[in-house]
């Protein structure tokens, strides 16, 4: 796959200072298309799909909202806290805005935690984007699958 002109524009939106202070690419100097291809390969290797990962993230987020900003226990093994800070964030693909909501999930069995946002859920579901390597908010597909117990799925 080649990097398209549209992808150039999206990649520009991901640079520091455009949407977030530090941008969404971290130290990753590759073309966006190469970042997407590598993560897609990783997701296939893990036997799941972007949609399945995003749905699991959404499921825990929606259950966590019931804690009204405090941490609650879900499925007897996750401590989930969902909260928001002021504002909205536009998606770099320019297909909408989402609330600045963050979701902290601690898996008690594995003793591992992960934090993600509504923007992550949207970007993974719609675009298969997990942020560039070295980005403060980069999510590794493997961490997501392991910590959130994402079920197997076809791409």
């Amino acid at each position: 796959m080649k990097q398209t002109v549209e992808m150039d524009k999206v990649q520009h939106n991901m640079r520091p200072g455009c949407i977030t202070l530090k941008g969404l690419l971290g130290e990753d100097k590759r073309n966006l298309v190469d970042i997407l291809i590598e993560d897609e390969g990783e997701v296939i290797r893990l036997g799941t799909s972007h949609k399945a990962i995003a749905e699991r993230m959404q499921e825990l987020r929606d259950s966590g909202v019931e804690g009204l900003g405090e941490s609650i226990t879900i499925e007897d093994r996750y401590d989930v806290r969902v909260d928001s800070v002021r504002g909205l964030l536009p998606c770099p693909y320019e297909d909408g805005t989402v609330q600045k909501t963050f979701i902290q999930v601690h898996n008690r069995m594995l003793k591992r935690s992960i934090t993600y946002t509504d923007l992550h859920i949207h970007m993974i579901r719609e675009h298969g984007f997990y942020e560039g390597k070295g980005s403060s908010f980069r999510l590794s597909p493997q961490d997501l699958v392991e910590i959130l117990d994402v079920p197997p799925s076809c791409m």
Binding site: I19, L68, G69, D83, S84, V85, L88, L89, F102
Partner: protein, 368 residues
């Protein structure tokens, strides 16, 4: 062959040099908007500035502070103001934040609007009294595992006039997580009579630039810059029963309001519901008990949604919405003050309305 190569390289260099000169000239002519005049609130204040920067920045440089929670990135929508003339077309980056009524009313996002000529601006007159303060950290105390109480002594100017319930913006300086200063808003928990000192309760946000700085880098004796006061969240002057509801660092403005009432001898009926997950998330319990003794019409009801077994908790248990629901009857003549997570506030509003509280009597300070 070699001559042709040298001529080609020379030609390329010459073209590059010409382009660079054109860019420099363009920068100093097309991009130079010269001196501009900004009239605020029909001439109550006038600013002469150089054009070319966003309105938010231009005003800040003239010591007029418009609250912004995102540092001018157009992602919080907080820095709206009315620009009655000179603004030009609305930028695409402003559109998600403006309703049709606001567009018709000349409301703009001041961080996205570049100053290119004279402007007539209308802002909340209270913002003209907002000042920037140099301060020193004199207290940094752990209230819970993720909430710190930060106390700042005001150095210059050395006093602030504010109402209980208002907030300030803290400037996080450049440090390893940010290459430029970042501003975030926090409610003050101190009593307005302590004019030389302000206090805040700050909860750690995962990877948050400002909260991480306060929790992991800031030390007593450090210097900080804040600006304020801001906000319309404060006690209204009447005798209605006050229903106060908070969670986490939402304690801050309510503590300020209640302490202010005690100091002024206002013995108005007030019930304060405070929600937390377990005992380690509770704080200021002794202070609230003392407040109950000092103000006979005040009741404090802490509630835990999921106490740990070792907590040996004998108080209220459940989500704060259920606790409010159980403890209240007709609220048609009461009013509510809510501060905390947007999810908590939205859920509480539903419960309060179910008990007959008019929406106009519900005041809240959402963290969103």
């Amino acid at each position: 062959m070699l001559l042709a190569l040298v001529i080609s390289i020379g030609a390329m260099c010459a073209i590059s040099a010409v382009l660079a000169i054109i860019m420099v000239i363009a920068e100093s002519t097309i991009g130079n908007y010269g001196e501009v005049s900004i009239s605020i609130n029909d001439g109550d204040k006038k600013i002469d500035a150089r054009g070319g920067k966003p309105l938010l920045t231009t005003l800040k440089e003239a010591n007029v502070f418009i609250p912004s929670a995102c540092g001018g990135r157009g992602s919080c929508g907080l820095c709206k103001c009315k620009v009655k003339s000179g603004a030009g077309e609305i930028m695409p980056t402003e559109l998600p934040w403006l309703s049709e009524a606001e567009k018709a009313d000349h409301v703009r996002l001041s961080c996205q609007l570049k100053v290119k000529g004279d402007l007539q601006v209308e802002i909340d007159p209270a913002l003209l009294y907002v000042r920037e303060f140099r301060t020193t950290v004199v207290g940094l105390v752990n209230l819970t595992h993720d909430i710190k109480q930060l106390t700042l002594k005001l150095d210059d100017p050395n006093s602030m006039d504010y109402k209980a319930g208002q907030f300030v913006q803290i400037e996080t300086p450049v440090y390893e997580r940010t290459d430029e200063p970042v501003y975030r808003a926090y409610s003050m928990s101190s009593v307005p009579s302590s004019k030389n000192t302000i206090e805040m309760e700050i909860r750690l946000v995962p990877d948050g630039i400002c909260t991480t700085y306060v929790h992991k880098y800031l030390k007593v004796g450090d210097k900080m810059t804040v600006n304020g006061p801001y906000g319309e969240f404060h006690r209204s002057e009447n005798d209605r029963h006050m229903i106060c509801i908070a969670g986490g660092s939402g304690m801050a403005p309510l503590k300020s309001i209640l302490y202010d009432m005690r100091e002024k001898g206002i013995n108005r009926k007030a019930t304060y519901f405070f929600g937390a997950k377990s005992k380690r998330d509770l704080f200021l319990l002794d202070e609230m008990k003392q407040l109950e003794r000092d103000m006979p019409s005040f009741t404090f009801i802490p509630a835990l949604s999921a106490p740990d077994a070792e907590d040996k908790w004998e108080g209220e248990t459940g989500l704060i919405t259920n606790i409010v629901d159980c403890h209240t009857e007709d609220l048609s003549n009461a009013e509510a003050y809510l501060c905390g997570s947007p999810f908590m506030i939205d859920a509480c509003i539903v419960v309060l309305k179910k008990h007959g509280m008019p929406e106009a009597n519900i005041f809240y300070d959402k963290f969103s």
